[in-house]
Symmetry: C2
Subunit: 201 residues, 2 copies
C-alpha cells in the first residue's frame, strides 16, 4: 500500500480540497454513466468515500453538484486550442464538443441538466455559474486573442460568436431535437466567420 | 344570443375542428398565464367546455397539448414578414420573437416546455413536430426567397442561419441564463449576414 493510500484510509485525514475533488470526480462519473437522476448525495458519498454531511456543506442540492461536476469533468476534454489560426481552432474545438455530446455519452446528461434547470432555480444558478458562463469566458478569451491578431473584426461581438457556434449545437440538441454530427462544425464556423450574405454585396 | 352561440350551447353539436381549436386556444391561454404545470386536461376541459375524454383522444399528454397550443398561439404573432429586404425582415422577426419572450410572458412557459421535453420523450416529440420544426420551416421558406433573389449566398446553409439567429436567443435563455432584450436582434442578424472575420481577408 502506498503512503498516499494509507493516509486516505485514515478518516478525516484527507485535506478538504482533495475530498471535494473526489466528490466532483465521482459525481461526474455517475452523471455520464447513469444520467442526472442517478446523481444523489447518497450515491456520490458512497462512491467518493465521504459523508453526505460533507456534500451538503458544499452543494445546496444534487443538481448543483452535478452541474459543477460536469464542468470539472468536461473542462479538460474541451480545452480551447491556440495554434494561431482561429478558424482551425474553432473547428477543432467544436468538433470535440460535438463528439463529446454524441460519442462520449454526454448528450443525455447535458440535456437532462439543462432541462431540469428550467424548472429548478437553484440548479439553474449552479449550471450558469459553474458551467455555462465559465465556458463562455474561456471561448471569449481565445476569440479575443484572434481579434487582437486581426483575425476577427474589431467590432465583432465575441459573445454573439459563442451563441452562433455552441448555441447552434444546443439549439439542435434541445430545441429542434434533430440529430447532427461533428461535420456540422466547419459549416458553423465558416458561416459565423464569413457570413451568409454575398461577399461582394 | 347569436345563432353560433346558440349552436355552441347544444352539447355535441360543435364540429370536431371547432372543439379542437377551442381546446388549443384554452391551453395556450392557460400556458401563457399560469405556466406549464397549470396545463392539465382537467383545466383545459373546463375552460374549453369539452370533456377530458375528448382531449385524451387528440393528445397523448398535457405536455403534447401544451406544445401544440404554444405553436398555434405564437404562430400569428411570429409571422415572417416579406418586404423584399431580408436584413430588415430578419431584424423585425427576431425583435418580435424576443419581445414575445421577454415582454409578453412567453419566456417562462417556453423554458418550461423545452425543459420538461428533455425528461419526457412524448413531449419532446410533440414540441419538435408541432412547434420547433414547423417554425424552422417557416423561417427557411423566407430565407429561400432571399437566396433566390441573391440576398444570401448560393452556398449559405439556411438551417445554420436559423440556428445562428433563433438558436442564439435560446442559448441565452436556456443554457447561459443571461438576460437580453430586443436590441440583440440587429447584432445577431448583421453577424449572421456579414460574418465576424474582416471583410478584406
Amino acid at each position: 500500500m502506498s503512503e498516499t493510500a494509507a493516509v486516505r484510509r485514515g478518516r478525516g485525514r484527507r485535506p478538504a480540497a482533495e475530498v471535494r475533488a473526489g466528490a466532483l470526480e465521482a459525481a461526474g462519473r455517475i452523471l455520464l454513466r447513469d444520467g442526472m437522476p442517478a446523481v444523489t448525495f447518497e450515491r456520490v458519498a458512497t462512491e467518493a468515500g465521504c459523508s453526505k454531511t460533507t456534500l451538503y456543506k458544499w452543494w445546496p442540492s444534487p443538481g448543483a453538484l452535478a452541474a459543477e461536476a460536469y464542468f470539472t469533468h468536461s473542462r479538460q476534454l474541451l480545452e480551447f486550442p491556440d495554434t494561431g489560426d482561429i478558424r482551425a481552432d474553432l473547428i477543432t474545438q467544436l468538433e470535440a464538443f460535438v463528439r463529446w455530446l454524441k460519442e462520449s455519452g454526454a448528450q443525455a446528461p447535458v440535456s437532462q441538466l439543462v432541462g431540469a434547470a428550467q424548472l429548478d432555480p437553484d440548479l439553474a444558478a449552479a449550471w450558469s455559474q459553474s458551467y455555462a458562463i465559465p465556458r463562455r469566458d474561456l471561448a471569449v478569451e481565445r476569440l479575443r486573442i484572434a481579434q487582437r491578431q486581426g483575425q476577427l473584426r474589431e467590432d465583432a461581438d465575441l459573445h454573439v460568436i459563442v451563441d452562433q457556434l455552441w448555441g447552434a449545437c444546443y439549439h439542435r440538441l434541445l430545441v429542434l431535437k434533430v440529430d447532427f454530427d461533428a461535420s456540422i462544425a466547419e459549416r458553423l464556423v465558416d458561416q459565423a466567420l464569413y457570413g451568409a450574405a454575398p461577399r461582394e454585396a
